[in-house]
Amino acid sequence: MIATHDSLPIAEARQTSLGLYVTAKEAYDMWQADPGLKILDVRTPEEFVFVGHAPMATSIPFALQTYEWDPEKKALRWEANPEFVAEVKAWAAPDETILVSCRSGGRSAMAINTLAAAGFTKVYNILDGMEGSQVKDPESVFDGMRVKNGWKNSGLPWTYEIDPERMKLPPRQSRTFVAGNEHD
């Protein structure tokens, strides 16, 4: 059973200044009732292409993956997309309803707070995102896998196919190369 957002505890990392939340299933129902409704996917272009995406979503990445290891956080560093707000403004008006998705609700919250600060007012966080949370059950063969909730696990349509009109690529060339050439 897919919970409605009312019954989901909203982790601090998923909370937004606008306080508007939906589940993936609720987002899809809203879009079906009004196919003009805008769905924004803020993951990296690579996630959009390789992990898959909702066919009606538009890709405007909020942050990009760098290849620099952060030894303190034990993770690869992220880098903000400097064109994020400008790209969203070119695509939607500040009073339009926008449903925002990422992997599992964290980056979309950051993106929404950034948009709210830029004057957007009706921006919902899709709490469980495209992939959903990881199963936390060491006895399960799915332990650690993202099969708990989220758009892809809710029986909603998704695809690998690209509509070039729906991808707003960040202004960036391949990263490792540029750095590598500097060292050569």
Binding site: Q65, W69, Y160, I162, Q173, R175
Partner: protein, 184 residues
Amino acid sequence: MTTHVAPTAQAPREVPETNKTSLGLYVSPQEAYAMWKADPEGVHILDVRTFEEYIFVGHFEFAKNVPLVFPRYDPAGPSMPGRPPGCSGELNPDFVAKVKEVLAPSDTILVMCATGGRAAMAVNLLAQAGFTNVYNIITGLEGDRIDDPGSVYHGKHMRNGWKNAALPWCYEFHPDLMWISPDD
């Protein structure tokens, strides 16, 4: 470490033309995992997908990651068919050099990508460079797409491959197994 470990008896298999290699060595994901399990020090699994695929789609925990191709976005640059303007892939010019830093030409190396195409290109490049025991893990990590318009999974990478064979995979990674930056 320069052991050559042969796979167990192989069932006849069909390898698509694009996934064939000059060495003619092929294993299924199940065979690859069994070979690695039998000799984790002597058998090396090499994942040639992009960093983003390795991280976001997931990977075999102990696979070394040296990308064969990097994603590239450059509005003024070339586009791949079906991709947004400026979205393309660029061959990693340091691929063979980087593999040579971590593996020897006589090592047993099992190469995987998403479905077996890039892995074949990687095997051919390594063969040209003098590597002799390099296998293509056919069907790759993700596997081929289901070709059945009546299936709700039509078009999804769910036909075969490592992930669909219930072999272990994860999102967490060991940075020392990845070529994170060129000056590592």
